[in-house]
């Protein structure tokens, strides 16, 4: 074996995966070639550097493990009954039929991307705010201010609106767009405000004036959605039907 052939085989992970004959050839070459032995040493040193850097920088996992356990507990409580698990093919087939029908109906009822966006916002509000699905939130006021400054620069996000104060913030995804998710609340109710960072709300659904436009309401489940556009940036407000429209109206006037 020549140095040129050996060179591509010296990485430890590669040399360990060689067949026995090639490993023997490589070993024979290393016995007689000081330069390749030095190069092999460098490969090990490079590995040591990478491992040291990545493992020493690794963050603590205690909080994350607690979050995961909490999420698994929540998921376990939502597991279907045993007899449903046994009959899953039938239920899956029925679900597909229902989904197809729902899809067809939704097309006829002029469901658009704005509607889907609002649905996604409602889902996020329900799971992350109402049901407290564990997520990483910024709750410290200076952290929230920093996140707001970096994501919606130039926007004066109020600390309180409609009697609710700003409680926490995180970056999230709605459909395939990035959103800044703020939660305003008091002791009895909470409202989610989503600032769409990357994609404007669909133009066909946006009001031309600043007043909030209620696009979608789910009064049965006690959740209402209102949205408006401000300087080309879409804002979606989700919360109880008695408060969410007021929050949207006030935000539309104050931003």
């Amino acid at each position: 074996m020549r140095c040129r052939e050996a060179e591509g085989l010296l990485a430890p992970q590669i040399s360990e995966s060689l067949d026995a004959a090639t490993q023997r050839d490589l070993a024979l070459h290393l016995d007689t070639c000081a330069a390749c032995r030095a190069r092999l040493q460098q490969e090990y040193e490079l590995d040591r550097l990478v491992v040291a850097a990545v493992t020493q920088e690794a963050p603590a996992t205690d909080d994350l493990v607690a979050r995961i356990e909490h999420a698994i507990d929540g998921s376990r409580r939502r597991q279907p009954l045993f007899f449903l698990q046994r009959r899953w093919p039938a239920f899956a087939g029925a679900a597909v039929v229902v989904l197809l029908v729902a899809l067809a109906v939704s097309r006829f009822t002029a469901a658009n991307s704005m509607h889907l966006l609002c649905q996604d916002a409602v889902d996020d509000h329900r799971t992350e705010v109402v049901l407290h699905e564990p997520r990483h939130w910024h709750t410290n006021s200076s952290d929230i201010a920093d996140l707001v400054r970096r994501t919606v620069p130039g926007t004066q996000v109020p600390q309180s609106v409609a009697g609710l104060s700003l409680q926490k913030a995180r970056i999230c995804g709605l459909l395939q767009a990035t959103a800044l998710h703020l939660v305003y609340g008091n002791g009895s109710q909470q409202v989610s405000v989503f600032f769409m960072l990357q994609r404007e709300l669909p133009s066909d659904s946006l009001p031309s004036q600043a007043a909030a436009n209620r696009l979608h309401e789910e009064t049965d489940s006690g959740i209402a959605v209102a949205s408006f556009a401000q300087d080309g940036m879409g804002v979606v407000v989700v919360g109880g039907p008695e408060i969410a429209p007021h929050v949207a109206d006030q935000l539309a006037l104050s931003l």
Partner: protein, 174 residues
């Protein structure tokens, strides 16, 4: 939960920020729990978890919100838990990590899975669903690029930190 740390350090390097990495690992563990009946006993559980993680990453990482989120949070403070004992070591670790982050996503994934996590090239090929030859070439290119990025500038080879770099990235003439 013994692999959470390994998943998190890899996810951290893939996502570029802690929040997204934690979300990715949480989703990985949740999906693994739900699909545990699909896990084949006596196979490598760590490799199975990394398969889920990489699948999730591939599902989501081209979505603009993930990239945007990473860009938004790039300037987050480094972890308080970093354990390097002195500032020189911390700077040195930061430099090595910065070089790793400069690799392409494909190269970075192969480097992390093989060098840091110790997975076999065959397992990595299955995780990434590419031929083993592709894994080997990505690994070779990743190591070459890393050596190039880490090579200290001429005339700056006085300190212990530079000697560490120099030991690992001497030019081909040795």
């Amino acid at each position: 939960m013994q692999y959470v740390c390994a998943l998190l350090r890899t996810a951290r390097r893939l996502c570029g920020n802690r929040e997204s990495a934690e979300d990715l690992v949480q989703e990985t563990m949740l999906r693994a729990w739900k699909a545990f009946d699909q896990y084949q006993e006596q196979t490598n559980c760590k490799a199975w978890l990394f398969t889920i993680l990489m699948n999730l990453w591939n599902e989501h990482h081209r979505k603009p919100w993930v990239r945007h989120e990473a860009a938004v949070q790039d300037d987050f403070e480094p972890d308080q838990q970093a354990v390097a004992s002195n500032s020189d070591d911390r700077v040195f670790i930061h430099e090595v990590l910065a070089c790793i982050d400069r690799l392409t996503e494909d190269q970075r994934a192969v480097l992390l899975l093989s060098v840091v996590e110790g997975l076999a090239l065959r397992e990595i090929a299955e995780i990434l669903q590419v031929p083993i030859g592709t894994v080997m070439s990505r690994l070779g290119r990743a190591r070459a690029a890393l050596r190039e990025y880490l090579r200290p500038s001429p005339g700056a080879l006085a300190g212990a930190r530079e000697r560490k770099l120099c030991d690992a990235v001497k030019p081909k003439g040795y």
